[in-house]
């Protein structure tokens, strides 16, 4: 079985989430005697492709017109690459790009797609997949009919793969001019932050509706995160109120994370929020309300006002 991982470049490296997808690919390869290849699409991706080739033989589709991941163009490119490489299993990371472009590719590849896989197993010669549903309240085993099977890996379920040694990088021959381009990329407002991404940080300091302003959130949640070298997260309510940036949102419909420490401050613990962080190794909560649902899912809780506790934590750590 040929397994193709669609990896995302990030500067000279491949994204952390893509390394988690490679781990899922390795598990699937071990379970079903597979062979892994990696494909990278983009512009100026030579260094990232070299980095990717440390995990498995890597194929590139590089062109100035592929600098931004528009779904029609990337979707068609991914479908062509999968057909050309003859892959029967396609694995990507469950990122916004994976959901947008890889799902579109899956439709033209026959429509067999498993989103947010957390495990795979070989049952009677066929791979079956485990995924979560209902905001993480249900885990389901599913069987995927048809070929190729397209799977996105839930990043929090897989440690990022470690490089195993040098292999090859090969440029693919695909007529880029024939790819659709009805979606026009205009601009992106990327965050300017030196902090680790919420999906990659070992420690996540997460703030909710308890914070009154964006300045308070940045000073307290951001300040504590900087003190421990962590990333910042937030509830949806904090995003909606304009207190926290959207890309920090943790939950069913935001980022799903499992850091070593998740410290939720002024977050009540709605099911949709729990879906994004309940598998963290250690969970701690600071809340004025002893009855906040998040406390049922935490290892440690401090009943205190965030505005008192955080400055003290910053001071004492």
């Amino acid at each position: 079985m040929k397994i193709l991982v669609i990896a995302e470049a990030q500067g000279k490296e491949i994204r952390h989430a893509s390394r988690s997808a490679i781990t899922l690919a390795k598990n699937a390869a071990a379970a079903a005697n597979g062979e892994i290849e990696i494909a990278i699409i983009g512009d100026d991706i030579e260094a990232a492709a070299t980095a990717a080739s440390a995990y498995a033989p890597t194929f590139t589709l590089s062109d100035a017109s592929l600098a931004n991941a528009t779904a029609d163009r990337y979707g068609a490119a991914i479908a062509k690459i999968v057909e050309q490489r003859g892959a029967s299993l396609v694995i990507a990371a469950s990122t916004s790009q994976g959901k947008d472009c890889v799902a579109r590719a899956a439709a033209s590849l026959g429509g067999t797609m498993v989103t947010d896989a957390i495990a795979c197993e070989n049952r009677d010669g066929k791979l079956v997949w485990q995924r979560t549903m209902h905001a993480g309240g249900v885990a389901a085993w599913v069987v995927a009919h048809g070929s190729p099977v397209v799977v996105t890996a839930l990043q929090s379920a897989y440690e990022p793969a470690e490089p195993t040694g040098e292999t090859s990088v090969t440029a693919l021959e695909i007529d880029v001019a024939s790819l659709p381009s009805a979606i026009q990329f205009e601009s992106v407002s990327t965050k300017q932050s030196d902090r680790p991404d919420v999906t990659e940080a070992a420690v996540v300091i997460s703030g909710g509706r308890a914070f009154k302003t964006a300045e308070d959130y940045e000073q307290l949640i951001g300040g504590l995160a900087d003190k421990v070298g962590g990333g910042t997260g937030s509830s949806r309510a904090a995003v909606d109120a304009g207190i926290a940036p959207n890309e920090n949102q943790v939950g069913q419909t935001g980022k799903i994370i499992a850091p070593d420490l998740y410290l939720g401050i002024g977050i009540s613990g709605a099911v949709q929020h729990l879906a994004g962080m309940k598998n963290s190794k250690i969970i701690a909560a600071i809340n004025t309300d002893d009855e906040a649902p998040l406390l049922d899912y935490a290892d440690f809780a401090l009943i205190a006002d965030a505005y008192d506790a955080i400055p003290e934590l910053i001071d004492k750590l």
Binding site: T95, S96, R104, A107, G137, V138, A144, A182, V271
Partner: protein, 253 residues
């Protein structure tokens, strides 16, 4: 312009989840259901595009809600009509519908209705698949903008701000197009009781998958399900010092 808004019926997320006897599906018997929150946001946005005369079509917009599922979906369809949809299409089926089949059924409805825009939720909060909108856009060979947090029009093009991992991304595309909604787009209105009563008179066209000519064999089938509880034994610490000690002992700091 016609805007098609798929509205899926899902169990109320605030209710406990029950599985059926052989643990292959959720048991919705007696469980209150709602319009998938993301689809309600899509419907709200369609209404606002019309009310604010945001598109070149001004207020000349027909909004058609589409629901796929058992007879019981009628209730949520009436709510969509009460919110302001002009009419509805109900594809009646008791079968398990995966994203592939749903997208094929929606394609068949879109072929009949010829909308200028399809607005739908980025994911349904029961299956959490995040696939149907992308599949549908591909079937129709239309451009797509997923995870929309802002929608505006410029001539015959629609501009969408998208919530991505990297931040807000702005794209534009010609109509017809598929847009999937994120939470920040708007806060849906409630359907008032009088509006719900009045909605009883609005037309609902019914179809079956067979009369739409769509095969309902799923691509992804559920073998088994289990409910998960992630509750932990929470230790209450009495002050910041103790919290630091506990976190250090646990190796978390």
């Amino acid at each position: 312009m016609k805007i098609l808004v798929p509205t899926k019926r899902v169990p109320d997320p605030d209710q406990p989840i029950h599985l059926n006897a052989d643990k292959t599906a959720t048991d919705l018997d007696g469980i209150p259901c709602i319009i998938n929150p993301f689809d309600a946001i899509a419907l709200e946005e369609a209404l606002r595009i019309r009310e604010e005369e945001r598109s070149p079509a001004g207020s000349d917009i027909e909004i058609v809600a589409v629901s796929i599922g058992p007879q019981a979906c009628e209730k949520e369809i009436r709510i969509a009509l009460a919110m302001g949809a002009d009419r509805a299409v109900h594809v009646i089926t008791d079968a398990y519908i995966d994203s592939w089949v749903a997208s094929n059924l929606l394609k068949a409805v879109a072929d009949q209705e010829q909308p200028g825009l399809i607005l739908m939720g980025k994911q349904a909060i029961d299956a959490d698949n995040n696939q149907a909108g992308q599949f549908l856009a591909n079937h129709l060979n239309w451009p797509q903008a997923t995870f929309a947090s802002e929608i505006s029009f410029e001539g015959d093009r629609v501009k969408v701000a998208r919530e991505t991992d990297a931040g807000i991304e702005n794209v534009s595309m010609a109509l017809p197009a598929v847009i999937t909604t994120d939470l920040r787009l708007n806060e849906p209105r409630y359907a008032s009781l009088p509006a719900i009563m009045k909605a009883k008179r609005r037309p609902v066209d019914t179809h079956t998958p067979a009369d739409l000519g769509v095969d309902i064999e799923p691509k992804v089938e559920i073998i088994s399900m289990e409910t998960l509880s992630a509750k932990r034994n929470c230790v209450r610490v009495s002050n910041v010092d103790e919290l630091i000690v506990k976190l250090k002992e646990a190796g978390a700091l």
